[in-house]
Subunit: 217 residues, 2 copies
């Protein structure tokens, strides 16, 4: 099976959670809109990313990972474990929305500069209340049995350290940090992360560095 991933070509965004799984498993896939003029939009998906797998068109990041997990050896096949991992992945999705909304609390369609005051308010509370709560939850939830959730947690830590270096430096999260280091050392992941296929973080993605939204150093 050769998978086709449809996502915006210029950002890591939500598509990156799927790319990490495909890359770690060395699964044959095509990132369809990279280096082309194709749009990742489709009437069947409310928003990118979606995955084409044979006749299937699967929208929603967590749904894609639910499907891919057992096929890529990144999730067990039994239902109880799949539901547990999926619950974690959906909570990562919620977390990611809150990260996005630190810089776009009013509307995704407005520029950051047009909602900067609101962003400061939202980001401050995100960093003081929500981030510690999510981190504490996943610090307990991350376990030794490797799965696509571990890849997604790597990406969350990577993105948060990019966006909020000061706030992250003050936090203690030994298990998530260890997971982050382990994932970065996985041979296929390491090769991917240092390749041109890995799009650098930038000011169009979900994780953005606006120093005024971070804590003071």
């Amino acid at each position: 099976m050769r998978y086709e991933l449809y996502y915006w070509p210029g950002i890591q965004g939500r598509g990156e959670f799927v790319r990490l799984a495909l890359e770690d498993a060395a699964a044959p896939y095509r990132d369809v809109c990279r280096g082309s003029n194709r749009t990742p939009e489709s009437p069947q998906a409310f928003a990118p990313p979606y995955l084409k797998a044979g006749k299937l068109l699967i929208p929603q990041t967590a749904n894609i990972l639910l499907y891919l997990g057992p096929r890529l050896g990144l999730a067990p096949r039994n239902e109880a474990q799949r539901l547990r991992l999926h619950g974690l992945q959906l909570t990562i999705a919620d977390w990611l929305v809150e990260v996005h909304d630190t810089h776009h609390p009013i509307a995704a369609s407005l520029y950051y500069e047009d909602q900067r005051a609101e962003a400061r308010r939202r980001a401050a509370i995100f960093l003081s209340e929500r981030l510690p709560k999510f981190m504490a939850y996943f610090e307990k939830a991350v376990d030794d049995k490797f799965s696509y959730v571990h890849l997604s947690l790597f990406q969350m830590i990577e993105g948060l350290q990019y966006a909020f270096p000061n706030a992250m430096r003050k936090m203690k999260f030994p298990k998530l940090r260890k997971n982050h280091e382990r994932v970065a050392r996985r041979p296929r992941l390491a090769a991917y992360l240092s390749s041109k296929r890995r799009i650098p973080f930038n000011q169009h993605g979900i994780f953005r560095r606006y120093p005024e939204l971070d804590e003071r150093s």
Copy 2:
């Protein structure tokens, strides 16, 4: 199997999407925190609702419905259809976050009164841009094969008409309206909706009526 639903006892909220499925299927369940002092919080779930089903503890609304769907006769058993319905349910979850954030764009932990100016900005763009986009997507996606997604779309329309009566009156959505009417007439659902088990909409839930956030009549 007697299911146990854990959710906040005073609001419809996310728990209602699960209640509608359980009620429509006449499934034996206990709404554990109703009429008791128990809290629906658990270290295993980042946030309520979660469902206990035998030894399983399933967090995240859409995950619960993914599990319950085929068991309650509200989703087919084949994977392609389940993934399709789940993709729709996850998009409903995204929509619901945006509804919530119309009145709480800065933080769930602050009072509405402390983020009213931001709420007006966010709600106006939600009503002009996002609501029509979600409605148009689901107007096409809703089909004749009944499922838990149809119950959730009933709840979305019901809640939006409560929160934004003026904006909703101006919108055309014949299929979603027809689905809303059909669901309300299903015998078990009708019995549930007129029972005391159905918590009325109120100013603590996700759908709230703040006239200043709605369009003018």
